[in-house]
Amino acid sequence: MKLHEYQSKTIFAKYGIPIPKGRVAATAEEAKHIAEELGGRVVIKSQVLVGGRGKAGGIRVAKTADEAEQLAQQILTMKIKDLPVRKVLVDEAAAIEHEIYFAITNDRAAKKPVMIASAAGGVDIEEVAATTPEKIIKVHIDPLLGLRDYQARDIAASIDMPRELWRDFGKIASGLWQAYLDTDATLAEINPLVITKDKRLMALDGKMMIDDNALFRHSKLADIRDIDEEVPAETEARRYGLSFIKLDGNIGCMVNGAGLAMTSMDIVKLFGGEPANFLDIGGGAGADKVAAAMRIIVSDPSVQAVLINIFGGITRGDEVARGILTAMDEVKPKVPMVVRLVGTNAEEGRKLLENAKMITAETLADAAQKAVAAAKG
């Protein structure tokens, strides 16, 4: 789960990390008021959950409150990478001397949290990593011991931070570490962390990603999830415990198991089709879940055929088939349905489905080809 910049920075501030004065606004008028309060140059920043806001014109500097209103008006009517801008953050403008990159994230290969810093901040860090990897400093944190002061000092020294700022940087590092721990973050990023002209450190931008699997212990964070930024079908799927991702193709996929769901997409593509979604209905595949999944898939107007691929392992194939038929009765989809059913009692299951005029298949390859053909009409 991604947090907005303004949400991330609110968390940072709670952990003692200095951020600019500012507030979030949903209208140009509000933005003007905030700019008046801040009484000077402000930055108007679109709040959308994608990168590249600056390049898209979603971050602008205003010299007066009136200009802030105008710019906010412009930005609030923009779309950035297809996402409409619904809120802007109005921050006092900082006098920047230097921009640093600083983040804590999970290093899956090392099985440890890692602090990442670079003196080349303010830009896309992946670009820095690709072109000048030597400019990126990494220090791993032992997850049982936690961040130690000397690790922050090592980072500060390695990015040539002026010595008089080390103590403040140490506080920022331990604040960010605690924020990362307390929120079960997978990423807590400050980019840029700036040194201002009057020699202070300040988190000018912030980005946090929270581990979805840990939301059970962070109900307050789960509540601030911005579902306006999501494809509505994905929000709907989460409600039913389905793992769903909208894609651009025309063949809907309903599969049990994430690996098999990916594979089903891959094989649709291999045989010349385009998957319309990723959907893992999980184990069991009871009629309720199948029906919800089916509704979500066929509510996408681009879907012209559906591939259902169920590997009946411990759940018997005939049970799965009955579940699918019950769901069909309820949802009454208008597009052709191709069902591939394998495993225990699969043959019986397939017979039940054939009797209900569904297209069936035994192999994955066969199923994918039939779905591609069905979608072409």
Partner: protein, 287 residues
């Protein structure tokens, strides 16, 4: 021979009185797995499966009483980290965690702690292991595989079943099938299992089922190129997955341009691995 589990495996089930735990214990027992005990705190002294399996209050008590040498965990995600710590503290040398959805920060603590204890963890978020006709630890359907000389290791669940089933269709069997799980931080990696298969006399060929995300397949490729004498066939799921999206498994995500299926296929092919275009191709590539 096989790896990790066999007829001598004395299995403990953590969370045995839960729905999942009891359901799969029934299946494991009917497969022939030697399930010696279960653990559910507060239910010590009870019995399950018509009085066949005793339930204990803690892993330590269960292990002391029954000599269990392997444990399989079916507890909910919020209790799974402690279940793993507890098993490690009780000295169980092989821990299999089926549970899905364990937070990754918890898993980093678990993994770093278990590494100190020299304990092997399989999973979490995995289907477990199957040594056909000997022992089934976890949720892999027993009837989809027959004994044979193919070692199977996989990050995915149902996709693994596909492969076992495809092998069985052509009369090929498995030595052991190990599901290492789809989480970004887990206990056992491809190279750990590849090394075991390389040293296992029963295993003559290996199937490796990978997916997008992380660098485990790349490390496997390095290992295969440097250390493996047995042929390896592979399939990598997710070639059609868009970057930046988590494809069901917490670990299945292309991040910062790294972890794509194309890169993994390239690395594996460079190591001499035959990579299938789809899983049903695998049996033919093994010949």
């Amino acid at each position: 021979m096989s790896i990790l589990i066999n007829k001598k495996t004395r299995l403990l089930v953590q969370g045995i009185t839960g729905n999942e735990g009891l359901f799969h214990t029934t299946h494991m027992v009917s497969y022939g797995t030697n399930v010696v005990a279960g653990v559910t705190p507060g239910k010590g002294g009870e019995w399950v499966l018509d009085g066949k399996i005793p339930v204990f209050d803690s892993v330590k008590l269960a292990a002391d009483a029954t000599g269990a040498n392997c444990t399989v965990i079916f507890v909910p995600a919020r209790f799974a980290p402690d279940a793993m710590f507890e098993a490690a503290d009780a000295g169980i040398p092989l821990i299999v965690c089926i549970t899905e959805g364990v937070p990754v920060q918890d898993m980093m603590r678990v993994r770093n702690y278990l590494d100190q204890k020299k304990v092997r963890l399989i999973g979490p978020n995995c289907p477990g292991m199957l040594t056909p006709n000997e022992s089934k630890v976890g949720i892999i359907p027993g009837n989809i595989a027959i004994p044979g000389n193919v070692g199977v290791v996989s990050r995915s669940g149902t996709l693994t079943y596909e492969v076992l089933y495809a092998l069985k269709q052509v009369g090929m069997g498995a030595s052991t099938c190990v599901g290492i799980g789809g989480d970004p931080v887990n206990g056992t990696n491809f190279i750990d299992v590849l090394e075991m298969f390389e040293h296992d006399p029963q295993t003559e060929k290996v199937v490796l089922i990978g997916e997008i995300g992380g660098t485990d397949e790349d490390k496997a490729a390095e290992f295969i190129s440097a250390k493996m004498t047995k042929p390896v066939v592979s399939f990598i799921a997710g070639s059609s997955a868009p970057p930046g999206k988590r494809m069901g498994h917490a670990g299945a995500i292309i991040e910062g341009g790294a972890g794509s299926a194309a890169d993994k296929v390239k690395a594996l092919e460079a190591a001499g691995v035959k990579v299938a275009k789809h899983p049903e191709e695998i049996p033919s590539l093994l010949n």
